[in-house]
Homo-oligomer: 752 residues x 2
């Protein structure tokens, strides 16, 4: 007891010393530290990946030094010259600062100094950016967000050359540039700074980073806890229609950890924005770890900042590209600079997971700091272990109680099959209205795609590189996703305020059986009076070349509705087992809620039996077999109607439509089978192995689906919709035979 | 003189001896020889690529032996079981025969023997194949062509196990199977056998190969020179509408060398069919070289059989995929089995070009014969030199006087740019109506594509894997290609008989200047009363990131017409400098000649200046700048109308339409510029560098085109349309300034 007390006192005293130390700090201390830098200097030339990165970065910065400094008067949107120039400036300054520390060559410090002085010259008289699109216009850039980016990077550059500057130079920079800059993006723009949003993460981090370098308590506090009296009115919105602030919502950096991250490290806006936000979260966490260790930032909320990197890395296809949930640009991957930084930081600060080294190896570069140096040494020393992408469920919501994402992964004969089912909360202003939707991958190929966003990021010709109108009119709408739209209206009527109060409910996630992995969730609020539950299972059966996907949706409503379930496949139609008509003239499928963007390219129906639809993509065959009634319309669609600037991809889809229906099931199986090689011209296994799919029993709580293959044994899939307990016993009688099972689902052989 | 005479006599005697020897031949002697085999056996285990191929082939054949023999009653089209089984049987028999020779393991000989005896059992009572689509139905397969394939491979198997068989067994096989088989595909099917066509190449080779093994003079003669009285009527046609035989046309194997090959080794049907035909040409040539050396088959027509392999290898993009001229399936490449064989043969028999070894290395396998063995040894010994793909012109027609193909290649900042211009003869029944058309590649990416064929080769669900209706209604039509259609009617009215009597005329081909490579040709017959000339140049100018393509078409007619010039680009529209309207409802652009398949997705015009059209594809930007008048319609198209089975790809196009026009020019420049990386999200050089393109002078014979860049010096392109001589002097006066040059074209700086 006595010892413990002494320890406590000592601990307190120690913390006090550290706290003191913050404000008698040496430089650099934000990310690089004096100690770290001297270690790096001592081992230069012995750590290949680090040395290699150093060469690349030097070459890049040297070229810029040769090219000369340009600090133009801001004018353009993203993609335009002044935007790209200022953006490049902050990247290069940060790198030059680091190079100065590592190489001790003064030219790098001088370059940063000269550029900063030019900014300090310009900034005091700089008006708002002339482009007016943003809800919070910046000064260097058209939106405060980019100004905040600038400050996050530039703070590091300033820290690196702090000691190189004279006191007068520092004073000029802090007085004319950094303090007014920090105030501008915070107290002068509370709508930008004082919310929970990736914008505000950047904003708070920018203010905090420069605060730490300048030893400015007030800025650090503002950064961590937000502004008290921000004047934001309830109902104020951003450009995307996103609510700025819910009543009583906290703000500041810590609130931006609390709220968007679930305890599992899922970031509610989705992986694309998590990737974008990852950098400020981690860079500031590192700086706080170095300069305010009393905060124990890496332990905050059970270490979610570092854990979330592991979550993000698992939200990828086999090429490392992020699932484009919500607004996500396809192609963005763990090769991005943010993830290079995140992987190195997660390794160094987060328990040295050896599989992270393999990703770093693939990335082929490391950050020029202690984290990157440690990673490069570990790779040199052969510590890397293979990358593992696993089945996993990630809850959404600050407390993990707002639905989630279910990822099922199962090895096929050639590629890893990956199902991503979404049953999250709305996901803030970048959320899409797509409850219970999914995407499905074979390796890195999309079998069923999620559209992603409608935006050509940084391509000036396409609306300045910003979100395009079709992002709202198409990409966010329910019909743009592989889920059910009722009465041609999006979930929650496409109303953000309503949507943001709701989330789907997880029901079952089980990846424990090698032969069947399953995920299920419910949605009761997307349509008033209608309850939906989706069950998706990847089933392995030796008689099929690959595991197949069973997709079951149960809908119950208090009135008759039209239900549309589209499947956005990729590839070319090979065959169907039903007749369809192709129109002479193409008309849009509807007039609003995304339907206006779909050309109806054919329509058919299946008078008896399952509807089968086969297509071919990149040398592989796929078949969807679906239980339909003769009344169900089978509609072929092609995206691209009402698209006056050709902003949309022209992807195909197959939609199953049930009209005048109250309660119903959608049931289908999707197989990946065979292949076609255009060189050998051999088509192998180009036919489906599903003979018949049938609901042989259903009541309010239970269903039994018979899956009859052409080759192999008939299977019965049994499911209970209202009791997810693993212990509960169920029993149904079909044709006088009793079936008993334990837990919400069962798959059995059934040759009756 | 005396010595020479003695030599002659001796030579004659020697030939006589050889001729005798043919019919006292040992086995194997067709492709493998006793001497060659013993050399191979002696060096097994020392030649990695050969040994490796042997392991692969053994594994494949061993698996088939284990699986057991199946010789089913023929029933299916290609893609169906019996078709694929018989096809596999002949491939495996040939391989098993070779394995028997190389490994001396009897199980391989026994497998071939057992299978052949089953065929001999079945064949005598076999009726015509039940599927009726072909103009010459086979017995094992739905068309004689596949039966001929069978015999070409099986002859080799028979040769390999000849000595293993008893005399009785040989007699049974020859009486019940081989002779009736050879007669069936020749004298009983003269429409198949007795023409100049890839079908007949296979047919004559099949008959000749089995004739050589069986020492059957009559069959060999029939093979080489065709059937005298074939009963083919003038005007008889095949399934594709191709004329069987022109009056007085020769037939047999030698005629099939004479006619379809130009002296440059271009095969008139195009690379896809040349690839297919290559195997029988070469295999039979090898057999004749071994067994009838007096024929000097490898010297025949200046060695065209071997030279054509080099030509074919140059008709590829940077991935080795063949340009899909005429009916060509995209994706087919020098990785095909035919090209493995062709490359090895071309190396061994054709002068041992070291760059062929690099292709063989890429192929990763060799043929299991002396040619393959020699290639593998040369690779082992480090003799391989880099693959070279060059600019080249290949004439078409038996005498090289029927136009040709011009290929221009120039290195861009990242990739090789390749222009393929077509001004050939019709190309037999697989020809398309696309005079003066072109395709354009950046590396292996299509900037402007040729559609290729409409066929899913060997995919049973798509019309049994055969040519689909849309091949005629779309792919063969002029509007499907990047060339001019007059009055919405294809060249020659789409009439094969007329088209087949004509060809375009080459005008200029010059790849000697590193800064400008040029090709030009004329077409006077595609439309009566209309003369067209196209000039295409790849121009290198340091102010452009990449060389650009200048495209100039001169049209003169005796009446007013509508001229449509489509460009089938790949990718998504980024921007235009003109306004266009997108319709609410999509209608086809026309009613026939391919136009019925094009949806009109937008239409605009450019009231002043050039029309500029930019698109983005696979991370690269492209801009087409075109001289247009305000009256020109700029039509955006999308393929896929009138396509009831979704057989067509839905590719986009931009069409420039001039109506009510007699004489005119189409002039445009296409740039490849910049790139976009979805990971860094940086768009680099995304704008065109063309400021203005203008015809500043034109008369009947001359044109001067000013090319004014945004960055860099203005250029003047001068061209003379009616005198291709390199020595001719030309002079024009523009704005009182005189321009003089020598030869048909000149590119000069022009800053006036």
């Amino acid at each position: 007891m006595a010892i413990s007390k002494i320890q406590n006192i000592f601990g307190f005293f120690f913390l006090f010393l550290i706290a003191q130390n913050v404000f008698a700090q040496e430089h650099p201390s934000l990310i690089l530290t004096k100690k770290g830098v001297s270690e790096i200097r001592a081992q230069l030339g012995t750590v290949p990946l680090f040395d290699q990165t150093l060469v690349t970065v030097k070459a890049e910065v040297d070229a810029e030094i040769l090219h000369g400094i340009d600090v133009p008067i801001p004018k353009d949107y993203s993609g335009g010259y002044t935007h790209e120039r200022h953006k490049k400036n902050f990247f290069i300054m940060q790198k030059a600062g680091v190079l100065y520390q590592i190489t001790e060559e003064e030219k790098y410090a001088e370059y940063v100094k000269d550029m900063l002085l030019q900014y300090a010259e310009m900034y005091p008289t700089l008006p708002l950016h002339p482009q007016t699109r943003s809800y919070t216009r910046g000064k260097l850039f058209w939106q405060c967000l980019n100004d905040a980016n600038w400050l996050v990077y530039t703070s590091q550059a300033y820290d690196c050359i702090y000691d190189y500057l004279s006191k007068e130079e520092r004073k000029k920079l802090e007085t004319d540039l950094f303090r007014p800059f920090a105030d501008f993006i915070s107290i002068q723009n509370p709508h930008f700074f004082n919310r929970v949003h990736n914008h505000s993460t950047w904003g708070t981090v920018a203010v905090g980073m420069i605060g730490l370098v300048m030893k400015d308590h007030k800025l650090i506090k503002r950064s961590l806890y937000g502004i008290k009296h921000d004047g934001i009115k309830p109902g104020d919105r951003d450009n995307d229609g996103g609510l700025i602030k819910k009543p009583g919502e906290k703000s500041g950096f810590l609130a931006n950890i609390d709220e968007p991250f679930s305890p599992d490290g899922y970031f509610t806006e989705g992986p694309y924005y998590q990737r974008y936000a990852m950098y400020p979260y981690l860079i500031y966490a590192e700086a706080l770890h170095n300069l305010k260790p009393d905060l124990k930032i890496f332990k905050y909320k059970n270490g979610v900042v570092l854990n979330s990197v592991n979550t993000l890395l698992n939200l990828t296809d086999t090429d490392g590209e992020f699932f484009p949930l919500n607004d996500g640009q396809k192609g963005m991957s763990y090769f991005s600079r943010e993830l290079v930084f995140a992987v190195d930081a997660a390794y160094y600060y987060g328990g040295k997971r050896p599989d992270l080294l393999s990703i770093a190896q693939k990335q082929g570069e490391v950050t020029l700091d202690e984290a990157g140096f440690t990673v490069a040494k570990a790779i040199r020393d052969g510590l890397a272990a293979p990358i593992s992408q696993k089945s996993a469920e990630y809850t959404d919501g600050p407390n993990g109680k707002q639905g989630g994402i279910g990822i099922l992964r199962i090895q096929g004969s050639k590629d890893l099959l990956t199902l991503v089912m979404k049953y999250t909360a709305q996901g803030s202003s970048h959320g899409h209205y797509d409850k219970l939707s999914f995407s499905y991958y074979e390796g890195a190929k999309e079998i069923f795609q999620d559209y992603g966003l409608v935006r050509f990021v940084n391509i000036e010709q396409k609306g300045g590189g910003n979100y395009l109108k079709e992002n709202s009119t198409w990409a966010k709408q329910t019909v743009a996703h592989n889920t059910v739209t009722q009465n041609e209206t999006s979930h929650f009527g496409g109303d953000f305020d309503i949507a943001t109060n709701h989330h789907s409910e997880k029901y079952v996630f089980d990846d424990s059986d090698p032969n069947i992995q399953i995920v299920s969730a419910k949605e009761h609020n997307a349509y008033t009076g209608t309850n939906m539950q989706r069950v998706m299972a990847l089933i392995k059966d030796g008689n099929f070349e690959n595991p197949f996907l069973l997709d079951l949706i149960k809908i119950n409503s208090d009135k008759e509705n039209q239900y549309d379930l589209p499947y956005y496949y990729s590839g070319q139609i090979i065959s169907t087992n039903f007749k369809y008509e192709t129109p002479k003239i193409l008309a849009p499928l509807g007039t609003k809620n995304g339907y206006q963007h779909l050309w109806k390219t054919a329509e058919g129906n299946q008078p008896g039996g399952n509807a089968k639809f086969s297509w071919h993509n990149k040398e592989r065959f796929y078949t969807l077999s679906s239980i339909v009634s003769p009344e169900d319309q089978l509609i072929f669609t092609k995206l691209g109607a009402d698209d006056p600037n050709f902003n949309l991809r022209t992807d195909p889809g197959l939609m199953i439509r049930k009209t005048n229906t109250k309660d119903t099931f959608f049931v289908s199986v999707t197989e990946s089978h065979g292949n076609y090689n255009p060189v050998t011209e051999i088509a192998h296994n180009s036919f489906s192995n599903i003979k018949n799919l049938k609901i042989i029993y259903s009541d309010e709580a239970m269903i039994a689906i018979s899956i009859e293959p052409i080759k192999g044994e008939k299977k019965l899939f049994l499911f209970c919709f209202n009791d997810p307990s693993k212990e509960s016993k169920h029993e149904i009688k079909i044709n006088n035979k009793e079936y008993r099972w334990v837990g919400p689902y069962q798959l059995i052989n059934n040759n009756n």
